[in-house]
Symmetry: C2
Subunit: 562 residues, 2 copies
């Protein structure tokens, strides 16, 4: 029973972290378990270099996982910064893989929520220790700049994982493991029963990763399913496998050390176009699906994976209602950063800037739409400045689709902030672009009312702020949104925006002018998505996100009255 | 602001009850808020007579509710005990009704979870005060005998309602209403934000009632949706409208007193065959559906009400694994009662008694299948005895379908316990029947492997107890079950049954020989259904049952650093 001893060590080791995480989700103030700074003072001298070397050691080689049902090798990742990765991953026979995953479940179920949570925290902790390796893998699959790949792909994703573990532990332990039921019977002795309540998993959880945030968007579902007793199959996007392969490898090692079967978590890689996710998602063994990606495929999963609980984060149209500001420069700088970060390739990037056509009030007087457009362009230029500086914000364009949308932006309206190509000093093959802003009228073409993923935003002119809010309700109601924001010095406008956001079911940021951006959400404090509008059917991560991943099965028996 | 004052009174009045209910769901020991005894010592002298008179005052009249969109009157209830009820209910124009329901939501949402919970407890408390009236209504729609109609349709249903309110209050208040987020920035001042978290409902919840337990099966979904801020439309079974009409009328009055719109809860009655539920369930305004009834219609709802969160309790095949016992008479008496109660017209009634064909061990020596069958028949006879006594257990047959299944029982196998017709002393038109038991071989006809709702059970002979457990896994896996039980003196067999129950996702009762029956589940202690097998996609009531009925929407804004 070495396994059990190790599992118990994990329980002891991570008790405090879990308790802190549980109080963080109750309070939703600031807390982070994993430092976001890639500084050597935090992660140690040489950590960055060692992580880069570890990343490079994967290139051009087979990524061995020792999974059941390995029948070949696949892989075709190319870095948005240029080179092919050349990593080959196991190709799986799904019958054998799923049979092995299912066989692993009962012992994992019987270990109980506390052991599972501790094992999961150990996994996340070891993932944290390999943040530099994973950051390089995220950078060279998603195209994120290095610091962003480190933060969003590393500690921020790890915090989200721990948050999911905490929510799931809390929900699983709301019901006691046993209860004594004693019903009075008047003058006769009471009826007495002992009841046992066992958390049982749904089965196999499938996690379908995306190409832009392979770890951040996958970890919540992965850990929520695993910690609730399910086995997990990870199906990465064919362009972003390596970060999840490293994740799966770490998890398999920890599970084995703790005495459980490695195949509780497996990787299913594929060549582009194989549609492995569709085959997997509709298998009877698969009872949970977590997906981040397009609305079309998310809808397909919801319609077709009927045997499973399906959690989707899809496309949305994120809007900013601009009414007035008392910090014009701060507002523009904030918007410029939000539009530029990772070339707008975030599900949370603002797309529609809604503004009255007669301009907005500022502390510098009224500003016309033309002035706002020009000043926003200047703010983007100031932020991005020299190429060497720009690429650290912009990263690289992740796919041809994104580039095609950007190239077609001038057909959608009047380009008021043009995109420019940036040459990456270290990676001349990388396609780096600054964001374009296209001016349209709210009542003209409705190109702005559907998602245009990537570095294209719309400056949408309206009759008034009231009209802007109507447009906001219409597009969020129809297409959904991951984020929304408002700029106004008028409390009544802010209140109306809050009401519109509540009615539309989208999170609102108000008057962001400093170092917090609408496209960033902090684990343990900000919820990501709401599940209350068409952009996502769930929130990452809350109680509803975890409560349906397991069930409670009871047994009961009489005790003789005492 | 009278309304607000009254709502606050409800909050003060019910604080203690809610706290007790919250601790009950954490502990899951014995607790009940509403006394189950219909004794005058509990409910007061004259309460029974007054409730009967109140029930009779509804007969042959219009049931006025004052709902938006009332365009006519419908109703066709006939008591299983004989007479037509003659009550006429509002016929609704659904466009007008749903528009009014939707318009009522924002103020209800803005009231917050605590006020909503208190208003709901006030509703349940007033329902409790009308338990005798509702008991008569349940008796004369479902066919339950009076005491059962009182208990299951009254206090037990009320306890389930309060349980749902408690779970929903707990889940809604896990997230704080506001949080202060303060992120350190090294030597610079911290970033500080204030965040607001608001519980928002999904929209309109539809509750589709059944004919056998119009209140007990409807209250959990009704109160779970209402207390989470949704409006609720109640669509009763056309044969069992009155208990829910009384419920809706009480709720509307309390909502109005508290300052909210009555149309937050409405009744949609119909003539048989109108298929109003299908029309309602697929309306875009309807975002939650709760259903109890047939597998075919539950599956239809899951497949078609795609815009809604759908909670279904469908048919199942409840099995008893009989291996051995040290209380042969107790086991038989317990089984006889479980099969006879309400003529087996409960979703929790055992259907398949699985037993080795070479008999079972007892404290009186080995008993052959023939002996067990004969002794079970004798136990049924002893329980039911004279007709006047029998009808108080059996109630009346609720529908022609049930009677047809009973009449066809002899075509399914060898009838080893025959059904007999009982004449109701007070209601000669009532169709009252004792249960039939049909002997089949596990490997013969598979009639026993699908639900046969009503007073027909199967004595299924197997090769061994191991074989019985295999059959158990097979039928529960394929058809689902609401209950399961095992009789064995062998700890290894009980452990194997527990494992089979966990794997199949069904609650297990072990060796019930005294006053607790497998078909009874106690609110606040026993979960009803699990959501882990095909008989139901949800458990009534746990956290997962309530957590998806609302979402949390946040807003955030900067505070200057202090």
């Amino acid at each position: 029973m070495t396994g059990t001893g190790t599992a118990q060590q994990f329980v002891d080791r991570h008790r405090e972290t879990l308790e802190r995480a549980l109080s963080a989700i109750r309070e939703r103030g600031y807390w982070s378990a994993f430092p976001e700074s890639p500084s050597p003072r935090v992660y140690g001298e040489g950590a960055a270099e060692a992580g880069k070397a570890a990343y490079e050691a994967h290139l051009g080689r087979r990524f061995e996982l020792g999974q059941a049902g390995t029948v070949g090798w696949v892989g075709s990742e190319r870095s948005p910064y240029g080179p092919e990765l050349g990593v080959r991953y196991p190709k799986a026979d799904l019958d054998a893989l799923l049979a092995s995953a299912q066989a692993a479940i009962p012992a994992w179920r019987d270990a109980g929520p506390e052991v599972r949570a501790a094992v999961c925290v150990e996994i996340v902790t070891r993932i944290n220790a390999r943040s530099f390796e994973i950051a390089n893998a995220v950078m060279h699959t998603s195209g994120q700049a290095f610091v962003m790949a480190f933060q969003a792909g590393g500690p921020h994703a790890q915090d989200r994982a721990l948050e999911a573990v905490a929510y799931a532990l809390a929900e699983q332990t709301r019901v006691p493991a046993t209860a004594r039921w004693e019903k009075p019977q008047g003058k006769r002795p009471p009826q007495v029963m002992v009841k046992t309540f066992t958390v049982v998993p749904r089965g196999v959880g499938l996690v379908v990763g995306c190409s832009t945030f392979p770890t951040w968007n996958s970890y919540p579902g992965l850990f929520a399913s695993l910690v609730t007793g399910n086995a997990v199959v990870v199906k990465p996007h064919p362009r972003a496998v390596l970060p999840l392969a490293i994740t799966v490898a770490i998890a398999r090692d920890v599970l084995a050390e703790a005495g459980f079967a490695r195949d509780l978590i497996t990787l299913v890689a594929e060549e582009p176009g194989e549609r492995t996710a569709s085959g997997l998602a509709t298998r009877p063994e698969v009872r949970i699906v977590d997906f981040t990606g397009s609305t079309a495929y998310g809808d397909w999963l919801e319609d077709n994976a009927r045997q499973a609980q399906v959690y989707t984060e899809k496309a949305g149209v994120n809007a900013v209602v601009i009414d007035s500001t008392d910090d014009y420069a701060g507002m523009l700088a904030n918007l410029a950063f939000s539009l530029s970060l990772y070339s707008g390739q975030m599900c949370t990037t603002p797309q529609d800037l809604l503004m009255p056509r007669d301009g907005i009030g500022t502390e510098l007087g009224r500003k016309s739409v033309d002035e706002v457009a020009a000043d926003l362009g200047a703010a983007v230029d100031k932020l991005l400045g020299a190429d060497a500086q720009a690429v650290e914000v912009l990263g690289a364009i992740v796919s041809d689709d994104v580039l095609a949308r950007l190239d077609g932006a001038d057909s959608l309206g009047e380009v008021v902030v043009p995109s420019r190509a940036v040459t990456h000093p270290a990676h001349p093959d990388a396609r780096v672009r600054t964001p374009a802003v296209v001016r349209v009228s709210a009542d003209g073409s409705d190109a702005y009312a559907t998602e245009c993923f990537g570095p294209v935003a719309f400056l949408v002119t309206t009759d008034s702020t009231g009209h802007s809010l109507d447009v906001f309700r219409r597009i969020v109601g129809a297409r959904g949104a991951l984020t929304a924001s408002v700029y106004s010095t008028d409390d009544k406008v802010v209140a109306a925006a809050r009401e519109a956001a509540l009615d539309s079911g989208v999170a609102l940021s108000e008057n962001l002018t400093a170092g917090v951006y609408v496209n960033q959400s902090a684990a343990f404090s900000d919820f990501h998505a709401t599940g209350a509008n068409p952009a996502a059917n769930a929130c990452l991560t809350d109680a509803a996100y975890v409560a349906g991943r397991f069930r409670v099965v009871q047994s009961r028996r009489h005790l003789p009255a005492e």
